[in-house]
Point group: C2
Chain length 581, copies 2
C-alpha cells in the first residue's frame, strides 16, 4: 500500500504515530507562516499542516498544490488546537514531513463539494468527477449495502442466486426489446431481457424452489423523466407457496433492509385491495404517509340542480385538515394545478369549515348551510378544515383528485422523506383494455394466474377477473410487484388466447415454457423489486439517476463516453445488416 491508513481513520488515539496518507487536495488555507490542507479520500478528510519556519521548501510545495491534485504525505499525528467537531478526524492534524505529488489535476469544471455549481449536463459529462462528491458517493455506498443486505437475507432463507442469460429471444408482448444482431446466425437477433420472467419460472420447473437474482434488465422505451434503458431488479421466485408466503417473505426483506441500512423500524405492512386503493386514493400506489382519503359524495350532493355534480358519474372530496384559512389566491393555485394539461380537470369546488363553525362553499348558490352540514358530516370536517371536491367520469376524476391529494400532502408537509409508509396492494385486475390496440393486455404479464373463482368470467367479463397479483408501495411509489403464476399448460394457452395470440404465435414465442409445464411444474409465484427505485427511496431522492453510477440521459445517451455511436462498416458487414435511414 502507498498509505498506512485512510483519511477517515485518525483520532486522538493515534497521537504521535507516523502515518502516510494518500488522497485528493480538497482545499488549502494559508494563515501567516502556516498552510493548512484538507486531504480527502473515500473514507474522510484529514487536515494537514505545513509550517514555513519548520520547512520552507515543503510549505512552499504545499502552497503550490492545486485543487484535486493527488498527493501522498507522511508525518506525525498531532492534536489540533482548533478542533472540528463536524468530522471524526477533527481532533487531529498531520504535521507533514514529506509530500509527494502522485498526479496533477486540471481545475475541475465544477466544485467537488456537497453543493456543487455544476449543471446536469456538465455533471453527466464529467460523471467521474461528480462521483467524487459525498452525496453521490454515499448513494453508491448505500446501494452496495442494500445489495449485500438483500443477498444476506435471501441466502439465509435458502434462496439461490442463479444468473439467467442476457442474450435471449425477442417477444413482442410487453415493452419494446433491445435487440442484438447475431453474426454467427446472420439475419437473426438476440434480445436483451425485460426481466428474467420465463427463466425464473423454468428454474421452478427445475425444482430450484427458491431463486433470486439482482439483475440488469432492459427496455427500449421513450424515456420519460426518470426512466433508464437499463435498470436493475431484485428478481425472486418461490415454489410450493401461496400468496401469503410471498407477502410474508418479502415484507421481511423490505423491513430488514430498512432496519439494516437505515436503522428504521418499518411497521408491519398494511394490505389494501386494489379496488379500495382506487376508491380511497384514486391510485394503485397511494402515498399512505398521510390519510386524506377520498369521500364519495354522490349521495350527498346530487339532486340540488347543480349540473356539474348532477351530470357527473362520480363526485369525490378530500378533507384538507387545517386549510380553511386558504386565501382566494391559494385556492386559485390549486385550481390551476388541476387544470394543467398533465391532470386535465375542469374545475374545483371547495367548502371552508371556518374556525367559528360556519360553512362556506364556492357553490353556495346550490347548497345552503343545512346541505353543507351533510358535506361536513361526510368528510368529517372540524373547524379550520377545507373540503376540496371534484366531479367527473369515475376513472378520470379519481386520478385527478389523487394528484390534488398528493399536492395537498406536499403543501401540508405530510410527505417527509425520512418517514416511510409501506403498503401491499392486492388483487389487481388480470387484464386491462388497451384503447389503441383494441384488445385486453395483461396488467402484470401473461403468466399471472387469475383467481380461480374468477376464471369463469374470462369469457363473460374479462375486465372483472382479478389476478393473484400484488404490488408493494412505499411512500406512493411502486417498489415491487409480482404474482402467483400459471403452472398449467391449458390455462396458460387460454390466457394467450385471451391476449389475442393465435395458438401458433403462442407456441412460437412461449412454447418452451408451455412445454415445460407438461413435465411436472410446481405451483409457484414470485416478485421483482425495482432496485434503482428502492435505493432512491432509501436515499431520499426523487430521481433514480443519482443511485446509478453511470446513468444515461433522457435520449438514452451516455454523454461521458459518447454512446451510442456509429460503428465501423466492417462491423456492419460482418453482421450482415445495413442502415435504413
Amino acid at each position: 500500500m502507498l498509505r498506512t491508513t485512510t483519511c477517515g481513520a485518525l483520532t486522538l488515539q493515534n497521537l504521535g504515530e507516523n502515518v502516510t496518507l494518500c488522497g485528493w487536495m480538497q482545499n488549502s488555507r494559508d494563515l501567516g507562516g502556516m498552510t493548512f490542507i484538507d486531504i480527502r479520500d473515500r473514507y474522510g478528510i484529514t487536515q494537514l499542516v505545513f509550517n514555513m519556519n519548520d520547512n520552507a521548501d515543503l510549505c512552499q510545495a504545499a502552497r503550490n498544490l492545486g485543487r484535486e491534485f493527488v498527493i501522498k504525505v507522511s508525518g506525525v499525528v498531532v492534536e489540533r488546537s482548533n478542533k472540528n467537531k463536524e468530522i471524526p478526524t477533527g481532533d487531529i492534524e498531520i504535521k507533514v514531513e514529506a509530500l509527494e505529488i502522485l498526479n496533477k489535476a486540471k481545475l475541475p469544471p465544477f466544485l467537488i463539494e456537497d453543493k456543487t455549481d455544476g449543471g446536469d449536463d456538465l455533471r453527466m459529462k464529467y460523471r467521474y468527477l461528480d462521483l467524487r462528491r459525498n452525496p453521490i458517493r454515499n448513494n453508491m455506498i448505500l446501494r452496495h449495502k442494500m445489495a449485500q443486505a438483500t443477498r444476506r437475507y435471501l441466502d439465509g432463507l435458502d434462496f439461490i442466486e442463479v444468473e439467467t442469460p442476457v442474450l435471449i429471444k425477442s417477444t413482442p408482448e410487453g415493452a419494446r426489446d433491445f435487440v442484438v444482431p447475431s453474426r454467427m446466425n446472420a439475419g437473426e437477433f438476440y434480445a436483451l431481457p425485460q426481466s428474467p420472467q420465463t427463466f425464473k419460472q423454468l428454474l421452478m420447473v427445475s425444482g430450484f424452489d427458491r431463486y433470486f437474482q439482482i439483475v440488469k434488465c432492459f427496455r427500449d422505451e421513450d424515456l420519460r423523466a426518470d426512466r433508464q434503458p437499463e435498470f436493475t431488479q431484485i428478481d425472486c421466485e418461490m415454489s410450493f407457496i401461496e400468496q401469503e408466503d410471498i407477502l410474508h417473505t418479502f415484507e421481511g426483506l423490505i423491513r430488514t433492509l430498512f432496519k439494516e441500512v437505515r436503522n428504521y423500524d418499518l411497521p408491519t405492512v398494511p394490505r389494501m385491495q386494489y379496488a379500495d386503493a382506487m376508491r380511497w386514493y384514486g391510485s394503485d400506489k397511494p402515498d399512505t404517509r398521510f390519510e386524506m382519503k377520498f369521500v364519495e359524495m354522490n349521495e350527498v350532493v346530487k339532486g340540488k340542480d347543480f349540473a356539474v355534480f348532477d351530470n357527473a358519474e362520480l363526485v369525490i372530496a378530500i378533507n384538507a385538515k387545517g386549510c380553511a384559512h386558504y386565501t382566494r389566491k391559494q385556492l386559485d393555485e390549486l385550481t390551476d394545478f388541476i387544470k394543467r394539461p398533465q391532470i386535465g380537470a375542469t374545475g374545483l369546488i371547495y367548502m371552508r369549515h371556518n374556525e367559528d363553525g360556519s360553512l362556506k362553499s364556492s357553490v353556495d348558490k346550490f347548497y345552503n348551510e343545512e346541505e353543507l352540514q351533510k358535506w361536513s358530516a361526510a368528510c368529517q370536517t372540524e373547524p379550520g378544515d377545507l373540503v376540496l371536491v371534484m366531479a367527473g367520469v369515475k376513472d378520470k376524476v379519481r386520478k385527478q383528485l389523487s394528484e390534488l391529494r398528493l399536492e395537498m400532502g406536499t403543501r401540508l408537509g405530510l410527505r417527509n422523506k425520512d418517514t416511510f409508509a409501506a403498503l401491499w396492494v392486492l388483487d389487481f385486475p388480470l387484464l386491462e383494455w388497451d384503447e389503441e390496440t383494441e384488445r385486453y393486455h395483461a396488467m402484470h404479464h401473461p403468466f399471472t394466474s387469475p383467481k380461480p373463482e374468477d376464471i369463469a368470467m374470462l369469457d363473460t367479463a374479462p375486465g372483472e377477473v382479478r389476478a393473484n397479483a400484488y404490488d408493494m408501495v412505499v411512500n406512493g411509489t411502486e417498489i415491487g410487484g409480482g404474482s402467483i403464476r400459471i403452472y398449467d399448460r391449458d390455462l396458460q394457452a387460454l390466457m394467450f388466447k385471451h391476449l389475442g395470440f393465435s395458438p401458433e404465435e403462442a407456441q412460437k414465442q412461449f412454447g418452451f415454457l408451455m412445454d415445460a409445464f407438461e413435465f411436472g411444474a410446481p405451483p409457484h409465484g414470485g416478485i421483482a423489486f425495482g432496485f434503482d427505485r428502492l435505493c432512491s427511496i432509501f436515499a431520499g431522492l426523487d430521481s433514480i439517476r443519482d443511485v446509478i453510477a453511470f446513468p444515461k440521459n433522457n435520449s438514452g445517451r451516455d454523454i461521458m463516453i459518447d454512446s451510442p455511436s456509429t460503428i465501423d462498416e466492417k462491423q456492419l458487414k460482418e453482421l450482415k445488416i445495413k442502415s435504413d435511414l
Copy 2:
C-alpha cells in the same frame, strides 16, 4: 406454504410428527401389498409408504403416479425397517394419509438421475429437466456459494460493488463486440461490454478506492469449445496500491473460497516469472500439480552430428518418472500425439533409463552410453525413468513439449481434480506481435502499465518491454489476470501510439478516459477472475457449460428457447436497419 417441511429434513428426531411434503415422484416400487415411493425436491429424497390393507384407494392412487408427477402428501413420520445409510433421511419414511397430484408430468425425454441417458442436444433442449439432476443442480448451488463468499470477503475489505453499464460504446481494440442498434439515435449503436475495464478505472479516478462487481461480459467470437458469448467475471480494482497488494488481496480471496466452499486448505500461492514459466513449462499457465520441468539440452546434445538437434534452435526434454517400461506401442502413441495437427511436431526422441541402470535411446547411432550419461545427469534420471526430447524453433517446441508434458501428467495420474495447485505468473510482456495485422497488440489490454524501468525500450525493443501484469493459474488453467494501470495521460497516449492508434482515433475511442486522467487520477490496478471457469474448477468439471444455468451451444444458440431468432419487420423499421444477407 403448501408443505410443512422439505424432502431433505426428516430424521428419527421427527418420529410421530404429522408432516406435509411436496415434490417430484422420483421412483416407485410395489412390494406385495405395499408401495414405496421416493419423493424428491431440491433438499433431498424421502421415502413414502402406502399399504393396500390400510387404504386400498390411496395405495392404488400412488401406484398410478408417473415419474416426475408433482405431488403433495401428508402423513406420519415412522421409522424404516430397511434403513438407507446413503441419505440423511434414510432412517425414516412417511406413512401417507393423503395424496394430492399438484401437476402431472409427461415422461421426460431422458432419465432424471445422476447418470442420465440424455445426449448433449437433448439435455440442452430440455435444460429445465437437466437442471433437475443432482450434479447440475449442485453446480448451481456451488456457484451461488462462490458468489456469496466472494462478496462477503470483498465487502469485508471495504470493497464496494458498483454496477457499471451494459449498454456502452463499441471499440475495435480487442475482441469483437456485440452491438445493439439504438432506436432513439438511429444509425448509432451501443456495444455490450467485453469487460467493465474503463468504467472501473473511472471509478478509481472518482476515488472509490476499492471496487468489485460480479458482472456479465460479452464477446462475439467464434466459439471454440468451452467458450460462451456471455460469461461472468469477478471484476476488481484498487487505488493507492502496488502489485504486491493486489497479489496479497486476491490470493486471500481464492484461498478463502477454497476453504469456505470446498474446505480445502490451499497453500500460499507460489510466484513465477512469465519467462520462467515459458522456459520450464512452455506455457504461461503451467499445471503445477506436478513438476516434470523442461530441461534445456542444447549444451548437452549439440555437436554430435545429429542434424535434428544441431539445426534446432532449442532442444528440450522432460523426465517422465517411472516410464522406462513404456512399450514401443506406447511410445508410438506419444509420437502420434505430438504429430496431431493441433500440436504439429515432427518427431519425438526418447531415452530409457532402465531398471538395470543401462541407458538406451532412440538415437543410439549418435549418442553413446557416455553421452547419454550427460542426458541422464541433465534430466536427473533414476533407474526406471524415461526421458522425452523434442527439438525445434524455441517458441513452437516449448508449446509442443508443454502438450506432451500435460499428456504425460494425465497418463501418470498426476492431475487429480481434487488436488489444487495455484500459481501467480508475473511480469508478462507488455506487447505481442501479431502476424496478421503486422503490428504489436497489447498482451493484456492497452491500459496496462509497462514496468517503469522498461519504458525506454518501447521505441527500441517493444517486444522486450515487461508489464506490471499478473495471472493466477490453477491446475493449468488461467482463472484470473490483471495489471497495474497507466494513470498518466501522456503515457496512455504513448501506449496508444505504439498500438497503432492515430491521436485522433485514440481520442475518439478513449478520450473520456485520457481526459479523466488529467483531473487527478490515483495510482491503481486490478484483476478480473473468470467466474464460470473458477466455478468449473471448483466443481471438478472440464467444461464451463454445466456451471451455467442456461448455456448456449457452439453456434451461440440457446436451443431451449430457440434464440437467436428472426424479429418482426416492424422492429427492424423502428431501428432503421435492414438485412444485408
